[in-house]
């Protein structure tokens, strides 16, 4: 069980704000942390890792990592951290990167096998692709058999194919090690696939804390609801068309002239569709 109740004054883009985070996480839980940029997600991970100070209390498996009298430095916290930019030790080979954390050759070998990196264990990070680097970073984070695994947007820099592959690997590793995990992510499908709980932060405060299905699935009265962003409005001979982005896809929707007057570019929209047909590609 991990009890977190922390506060910290942050200097955000819109002035100072208070980060206030209070949750209890069960052993083995996979928590996704989401929210707009600047809402305090990365700072929260850094506080949990002991890389930044904060007020409050962090208690992990009956051990106090932080309270008014105790502050465990990162070295004493049993954590694994995967940075967004991998942060591999460039002067060490893949294998050395893992063994630097713990001299456990068996575990290193096993992790490299699971992530299909065994054949390149003598390579240096500069000779690896982005996806390979991120897999090394995940393996390295697990080398200490951490009590808490912190992932800071671990897959955001990868293409969708590599993302899916790594999501499956993360899932397999989480199943095997049962490490309590907190992952920062903006990707709904990734959160839905990996996490058992989703916490949404806004301006440093928790605004939602529920299973991903409750937070992410938007279906009311058998009506499909989609979140979209208005890119532009095109005038045609008959009726105006709103060009919207649905994830990676661009779609044109015919709207009335009156609707066009009330919409502004860049606005977030909800699109409702009643008739729904599915077709395999």
């Amino acid at each position: 069980m991990i009890d977190i109740a922390i506060t910290k004054e942050l200097d955000g883009a819109k002035g100072s704000m208070a980060l206030s985070f209070k949750v209890t996480i069960k052993q083995g839980e996979f928590v996704a942390l989401s929210g707009k940029s600047g809402s305090g997600k990365t700072t929260l991970l850094r506080i949990l890792a002991g890389l930044e100070k904060a007020q409050g209390e962090i208690c992990v498996a009956d051990k106090i990592w932080l309270n008014s009298t105790t502050f465990y430095p990162p070295q004493k916290r049993e954590i694994g951290f995967v940075f967004q930019d991998y942060a591999l030790f460039e002067n060490m080979t893949i294998e050395q990167n893992l063994l630097f954390v713990a001299k456990d050759t068996q575990l290193a070998q096993h992790l490299l096998e699971v992530t299909e990196l065994s054949s390149m264990k003598h390579r240096y990070p500069h000779a690896l692709s982005g996806g390979q680097k991120q897999r090394v970073a995940i393996c390295r984070a697990l080398m200490k058999r951490p009590k808490l695994l912190l992932l800071d947007e671990p897959l955001s820099a990868l293409d969708s194919t590599m993302r899916t592959k790594l999501q499956n690997e993360l899932l397999a590793l989480h199943k095997e090690f049962q490490t309590t995990t907190i992952m920062v992510s903006h990707d709904s499908s990734e959160i839905y696939k990996l996490a058992s709980r989703m916490v949404v932060l806004e301006n440093g405060a928790i605004i939602q804390d529920a299973p991903p299905s409750e937070v992410l699935l938007e279906q009311k009265n058998n009506t499909l609801t989609l979140r979209a962003k208005l890119l532009c409005i095109q005038e045609t001979a008959t009726q105006p068309q709103a060009i919207v982005t649905l994830g990676q896809q661009l779609t044109a929707i015919t709207i009335t002239k009156e609707e066009a007057q009330h919409l502004s570019i860049g606005e977030d929209l909800l699109i409702n569709a009643k008739e729904l047909t599915l077709q395999a590609l």
Binding site: Q75, I79, F81, V101
Partner: protein
């Protein structure tokens, strides 16, 4: 002709440069590491103090060092009385003066090297359970080889090339403080242009080779990392 050339000034210059580079490396490493990691308010003051020898005329620096190390000053008197070491017009004095004069050339490349390191890489080492000392030697230093190379070589070359400070603090005592740059000055003064030419050509060649080695090393390192 070459047989008649006295190479002792060169030997003295290289001995002085080697000792200075070694001492400065040991002093500058913790100082540069501290400066790269701290957000303290005194950081700009330390940085300005360290950089002073770059902008101060060598004669000014030489004058203050001479004043501080002479027997009339508490420091000079202390060293002569308790250790029997004369700090002016001696090789030891030259080493002390060179350490002040070349300090920024060691500290600044090292500090830049530390500051351009990926901060997350150092943090990953702390998270892996490693202390600051092990992180410094196992992660930071091996990942900033070009900065290390630049700091050591430029400090060495700069010390070989110093003139004003060594002349003021060391004078020109043969076999003791008469380094190559001072020897060239004397040759010109007594109008022995042939020896001055030979000495100057040697200095020019060595300086070029030293700089070339730094640039070749850095180019090789950049290529190896595919940058």
């Amino acid at each position: 002709m070459i047989e008649s050339i006295n190479f002792t000034p060169f030997f003295l210059s290289f001995k002085l440069a080697t000792i200075t580079a070694l001492i400065l490396f040991c002093i500058s490493l913790p100082l540069a590491w501290y400066l790269s990691q701290t957000h303290s308010k005194i950081k700009p003051f330390i940085e300005a103090l360290t950089a002073l020898p770059i902008v101060l005329p060598p004669s000014v620096l030489g004058f203050y060092i001479l004043y501080a190390l002479s027997y009339d000053s508490p420091i000079g008197a202390f060293f002569e009385e308790y250790f029997g070491v004369k700090l002016v017009f001696s090789f030891t004095g030259l080493v002390v003066a060179s350490c002040f004069y070349s300090l920024p050339f060691m500290v600044q490349p090292l500090q830049n090297g530390f500051e351009t390191l990926n901060k997350h890489m150092l943090e990953a080492s702390y998270i892996a359970g490693k202390g600051k000392l092990q992180t410094l030697f196992s992660v930071a230093l091996p990942n900033m080889k070009p900065a290390l190379m630049t700091a050591i070589i430029i400090t060495f070359a700069h010390t070989v090339g110093e003139f004003g400070v060594v002349l003021m603090v060391g004078g020109s005592i043969p076999q003791e403080t008469k380094v190559a740059s001072v020897a060239i000055y004397e040759m010109v003064e007594i109008m022995d242009y042939t020896t001055a030419h030979i000495y100057s050509a040697i200095m020019l060649g060595i300086s070029f080779l030293v700089l070339l080695s730094v640039y070749l090393f850095n180019a090789h390192h950049t290529k190896r990392l595919g940058l």
